[in-house]
């Protein structure tokens, strides 16, 4: 129920499974407004070879922040390699700011590799989730890349004893 003038969030989760190439999904939202039902649409280019994309390659191409032992996992590094011959600017388009932050360079020179970091937010330390972030490049196609970010908590962390480590990432 959304009161007049209010807003609500609708999270759409897409499992890419074994899809290939361009996939469009258009979930419909049934409301008391009646027909025609409104729809949202998500478009993705599912690649079976994420290690050979163009103009950038990310390594790893999936981020796993799973907490499986008592060692606190609150950040993960990944690299972005520019495999093109032009300098690329990177723009963050979308990320789940309730769960993590992403530290990205503003640009990458041709044929260079840079480091980036996903840092878990303190309030998400004991949360399991499947989220993602999307970046857009400045190439001619305005190429977008989405990186899945997963966290599975098998070993609960006591927040008070880990405050110092988590504060480091703020």
């Amino acid at each position: 129920m959304i009161a007049v003038g209010d807003s609500a969030k609708l999270e759409i989760i897409f499992h890419t499974k074994t899809y290939r190439s361009k996939v469009t999904k258009r979930p419909s939202i049934r409301t008391n407004e009646g027909t025609p039902h409104k729809r949202v649409s998500i478009i993705s280019t599912v690649t079976p070879r994420p290690d050979s994309t163009y103009p950038i390659r990310m390594q790893p191409y999936k981020i796993d922040l799973s907490q499986l032992t008592d060692k606190v996992i609150d950040e993960a590094e990944f690299t972005i390699s520019n495999v093109s011959e032009e300098k690329l600017n990177i723009k963050m388009i979308d990320y789940c700011n309730e769960m993590f932050d992403v530290e990205l360079p503003d640009s990458i020179d041709p044929r260079m590799t840079v480091k980036a970091v996903v840092k878990l937010k303190e309030n998400a330390i004991n949360e399991s989730f499947d989220k993602s972030f999307t970046i857009e490049l400045s190439d001619q196609n305005k190429s977008r890349f989405t990186v899945p970010v997963k966290r599975m908590v098998r070993h609960t962390i006591n927040k008070s004893t880990n405050t110092r480590k988590l504060d480091r990432g703020k």
Binding site: F14, T31, N32, R144
Partner: protein, 67 residues
């Protein structure tokens, strides 16, 4: 006087009925499309859409049907 009161009551009821019929919920989705770009196989990705209730009656989300 009695007739006037009756007429007034009828008018008020009529106004309420007309208001009830005319008030309608309305869903507005300012950005209803999202492009993820390249995504790896065998992974879960997500995006949040904002739904705004812009009608003059409260909006009930009954169901979201996967596309």
């Amino acid at each position: 006087m009695k007739r006037f009161k009756l007429l007034l009551c009828s008018f008020v009821v009529l106004l309420l009925l007309v208001g009830a019929v005319w008030s309608a919920p309305r869903l507005t989705i300012p950005e209803a499309k999202f492009d993820f770009g390249f995504v790896p196989q065998h992974s879960k990705i997500s995006h949040v859409f904002w739904l705004h209730s812009t009608g003059d009656d409260e909006l009930k989300i009954l169901k979201v049907v996967p596309g």
